[in-house]
């Protein structure tokens, strides 16, 4: 994601004051000083007024709750009794010493890895197929996107039934093929695979379309000239398509990290009776937070869990961002160097001397 925030362009470089007064002078009613003042106020205040709803709402339902979560985490706080004694960082210590917390973190990361890596690989391949010069483009694109319109709740219900250990479609078919049934819900890794499958089924096509857009942004002429130079389809895919979609890939990875680490619906509905399996074998961190807050009614510890998860997600997001920046800046440096070298060769000078000038 390249977020370029250029200032809004203006046709003329005038000072704001004259800019604001200009329309007034032109309008016939500008003589009245009150109107003039109102108009100037309009120009000054309106921009802030228009963006205010977002910032007010974000403060109220985004920033304030996050800050207040930290306050709650410092108290012995129950769902019904409300605020109790100030306990300092005891809730954090309790959570960090809680093996169920670490278990939930492991499950979250495991499900995330199982759902993001195969998904990205599949999305790139599907995008490459869609990038061919096929007939009925819209039809095939829609068929790829179909799972996206099935809500996560419905997806969870459908796949929970498919992965049912006794009568599920998948174990039935495995049995028909003479294989042993897999304990999709009882065992840890199979349950993670089942939940990751739900996520993958819904999101792969969506991400494939994003990557397809990135692939099509590569000018076809470049592909053509590479093909004329004898590069085959596979070679072109790896040395031209993959590098050109890298920024988009990073964008997809960052957004899926933020979403993936907060996974809740799928594990919640995979076994609606226990919050994340009888032995917590697929209890994710948000699910554990949910259990702590609303089953065990311990708001203090639940808030501590929320803050720890918050720090992890923001930290990982920042890390992703910096790695992405490092990669892209290193790449652009390499590209500049390559161009300089070319230029130098053209001029018959050694490349080092050209670089010295900069």
């Amino acid at each position: 994601m390249s977020v370029t925030l250029s200032r809004p362009r203006r046709p003329r470089a005038t000072k704001p004051e004259t800019d604001a007064a200009a329309p007034d002078r032109a309008s016939p009613s500008a003589r009245s000083p009150l109107k003039q003042r109102l108009s100037r106020l309009d120009v000054k205040a309106s921009p802030y007024l228009y963006i205010a709803p977002f910032f007010v709402l974000f403060g109220l339902v985004g920033l304030f709750p996050l800050g207040y979560t930290f306050v709650v985490s410092l108290f012995d706080w129950r769902l019904l009794q409300g605020q109790g004694e100030f306990v300092g960082l005891d809730n954090f210590a309790a959570v960090l010493g809680d093996r169920f917390f670490w278990n939930s973190l492991f499950n979250t990361v495991s499900i995330f890895v199982l759902s993001s890596i195969p998904q990205l690989v599949a999305a790139v391949l599907i995008a490459a197929v869609l990038d061919q010069n096929i007939r009925g483009k819209t039809f095939w694109r829609m068929s790829v996107l179909l799972p996206y319109i099935v809500t996560p709740v419905a997806v969870s219900l459908i796949f929970t039934n498919m992965f049912n250990e006794q009568y599920g479609l998948i174990n039935n078919v495995l049995g028909a093929l003479g294989l042993d049934p897999v304990m999709w819900k009882t065992e840890q890794l199979p349950s993670h695979l089942a939940i990751a499958t739900m996520v993958n089924w819904r999101w792969t096509g969506y991400n494939a379309l994003i990557l397809l857009a990135a692939m099509q942004a590569v000018p076809r002429d470049i592909h053509e000239s590479a093909a004329l130079d004898g590069a085959g389809a596979v070679r072109r895919f790896f040395s031209m398509t993959v590098p050109s979609i890298r920024p988009t890939l990073i964008f997809v990875i960052i957004t899926s990290t933020i979403g993936g680490l907060q996974i809740f619906t799928e594990p919640r509905l995979f076994d609606p009776v226990t919050a994340g399996g009888s032995a917590r074998q697929f209890q994710t961190t948000v699910l554990y937070l949910w259990e702590m807050a609303f089953f065990r009614q311990n708001f203090g510890e639940a808030s501590a869990i929320a803050w720890l998860l918050f720090l992890i997600i923001v930290g990982l997001g920042a890390l992703n961002f910096f790695i992405a920046r490092r990669i892209s800046s290193a790449e652009s440096r390499r590209a500049t160097r390559r161009i300089r070298r070319r230029l130098a060769q053209l001029k018959g000078q050694p490349a080092d001397r050209m670089e010295d000038h900069s």
């Binding site: 709650v72 039935n172 028909a176 592909h223």
Partner: protein
């Protein structure tokens, strides 16, 4: 949208050469075979749910899954309607998603226009702040938000689901990116010279120009609101649910009839399926455009 168009003009003349090179040649059976496999992967779980939802529960025991639907679909639909307040849930979901959509689209366009076209101190800095908020997992603030809603006495009411998402950072960002290129500054200047107020300029100049992006934003906002689960589950109760929370109750019942659960899953998918058939093209171009612009 622009990405969809880039190929067309070029294909007209150098067709022969590219075919010789093998770039724009029509692909063979392998590609269509793969596409068909992908289509089956996308559609089969839905078809299977429909088949199971229209059969007896005992069909689940069959070694090979039946391929054709049975005759019990409407009976199972009746079961769904009996076990959860389906129509109330559908109505709630429609109201919640529509109100959120109208509000998000309006306020995002307003703010996006301000960021894209108006000059004010702190424009760039505030925009950076806004973009940064997109990386913040605000979902983790649910505990105080829940306490707040309880304080206000809003728990159990759909207002509690609507209010937190009345305007989103993504919406503002999306509209800003669109409007920055689309409205010529001269047009705004002209409207101002003609004596239009700031809001009048927005209404008569920006809003008409923003329409295509507003439609796409509306589509995505509606989908997001419609699929939301965690927050409605927390703040609403089972007597006044959204479609998603009602659906999850089917699974949580003490005695679970799986064909009824799957019928519920299919029923809840129909509204979005209809939307998809009408506006699927816009949805696709929205996703692809977002990728290029973002």
């Amino acid at each position: 949208m622009s990405t969809l168009l880039t190929r067309t003009p070029r294909r007209a003349q150098p067709r022969r050469r590219s075919r010789a090179v093998g770039i724009d040649a029509r692909p063979g059976f392998l590609v269509y075979g793969l596409l068909t496999a992908i289509l089956l992967g996308s559609a089969y779980p839905l078809w299977w749910s429909f088949v199971m939802g229209s059969s007896e529960s005992s069909a689940r025991g069959d070694t090979w899954p039946p391929l054709l639907p049975g005759g019990r679909f409407w009976i199972n639909v009746g079961e769904v309607l009996d076990s959860v307040p389906f129509w109330l849930a559908l109505g709630n979901s429609l109201i919640i998603s529509s109100v959120i959509t109208v509000s998000v689209v309006f306020f995002s366009t307003l703010a996006g226009y301000s960021f894209a076209k108006l000059r004010f101190r702190g424009n760039t800095a505030l925009m950076v702040v806004l973009v940064a908020t997109m990386a913040i997992p605000t979902q983790l603030g649910i505990i105080p938000l829940f306490m707040l809603m309880r304080e206000w006495g809003w728990t159990g009411q759909i207002g509690a689901v609507v209010v937190p998402t009345l305007v989103t950072a993504f919406g503002v960002f999306f509209m800003r990116q669109y409007l920055v290129d689309v409205i010529p500054d001269e047009l705004i200047e002209a409207a101002r010279v003609d004596g239009a107020s700031m809001i009048g300029t927005f209404w008569h100049v920006a809003l008409p120009a923003a329409r295509p992006a507003m439609a796409i934003l509306a589509l995505f906002t509606f989908m997001t609101a419609w699929t939301d689960f965690l927050w409605p589950l927390l703040v609403l109760n089972s007597s006044n649910p959204t479609l998603q929370t009602a659906l999850s109750q089917l699974q949580s019942a003490r005695y679970v009839d799986y064909s009824v659960v799957l019928t519920g899953a299919i029923l809840s998918t129909i509204p979005l399926l209809v939307l998809f058939l009408i506006a699927g093209k816009q949805l696709i171009s929205g996703i692809m455009q977002g990728a290029v612009k973002g």
